[in-house]
């Protein structure tokens, strides 16, 4: 999918150092990228990192956006894939840092929440978080669905899980995914269809009660 014009212009402004543009980019992509990154971590690391912390998230995004100047996004998928890889890179740096500090202080005095300066950076950065979003009820329903589906994604084969992340969360086209794994577009499409079928089968039992809550009829009428 082509990168929308608003994102394109936000990226250009952000590259020129416009803080407002950075805030907008953060607001647009933080939720999606956080989900992708969390899905790619093992459950143990997810717990260890405590990625719910907005402070950490803002640091991570600032780090990623600082590298925007070296990047020319070709599509929506290309941008999301790049952004989530940058965020992942930051997280692994942070994990390295924590293990090093823990070794230095074996009494366990190091906290995951403490200030962290990533490799190649000189200071901790902050950006302003804009609070625009759905109602608390919508958030609760979305969160429940998201948690169910994310936990089921963990049950897929790693390759199946990755292809769903690439396609549905990073919005890469089958052609773009094919390039990543040196496979044909058709082979990737088939692999994705099988992975998605498996996810449906795994989801059925867990999602049915939620569907009932959201009125089963409404969904059936949708087809």
């Amino acid at each position: 999918m082509e990168l929308d014009s608003q994102t394109k212009s936000l990226i250009v402004s952000a590259k020129l150092g416009n803080k407002e543009a950075l805030n907008h980019l953060f607001a647009r992509y933080q939720s999606r990228v956080l989900r992708v990154v969390r899905l790619r971590l093992t459950p143990d690391l997810r717990h260890k990192l405590g990625l719910q912390s907005m402070d950490i998230l803002q640091e991570v995004f600032m780090y990623a956006f600082k590298h925007l100047k070296d990047f020319e996004p070709k599509s929506q998928g290309h941008f999301l894939n790049w952004l989530s890889k940058k965020v992942q890179h930051y997280i692994y740096d942070r994990l390295d840092y924590i293990s090093r500090e823990k070794r230095k202080a074996p009494q366990g005095k190091i906290s995951i929440e403490q200030e962290f300066i990533p490799k190649g950076e000189t200071s901790k950065m902050k950006i302003q978080l804009k609070d625009k979003g759905p109602t608390p009820y919508q958030i609760a329903v979305i969160k429940e669905k998201k948690e169910i589906i994310d936990s089921l994604l963990d049950l897929l084969e790693p390759e199946q899980k990755e292809i769903i992340i690439n396609r549905d969360l990073e919005e890469l086209t089958f052609k773009e995914i094919g390039k990543l794994y040196d496979k044909s577009e058709d082979a990737v499409r088939k692999q994705y269809t099988r992975a998605f079928k498996k996810l449906i089968e795994l989801s059925e039992e867990k999602l049915k009660p939620l569907i009932a809550e959201l009125t089963y009829k409404e969904y059936k009428d949708g087809f």
Binding site: R28, R32, K145, D168, K220, F223
Partner: protein
């Protein structure tokens, strides 16, 4: 054709266009009508969940 293959055929179509003509498949495979509808409801819900992330992210 067995159910798994029918479902794969439908999902292949669904991936290209989420507003597929499910009635066409229900008429073609009436013995699987309910199961196919159930699967498509789940498919739609999963896809929706991936997109709903935007609600708290994109403006």
């Amino acid at each position: 054709m067995d159910f798994d293959n029918i479902l794969l055929e439908i999902l292949n179509e669904f991936i290209k266009n989420e507003n597929i003509d499910i009635e066409k498949y229900c008429n073609r495979y009436p013995q699987y009508k309910d199961a196919l509808l159930d699967k498509l409801i789940i498919a739609k819900l999963i896809k929706q969940s991936f997109r709903e992330e935007d609600l708290s992210g994109k403006n």
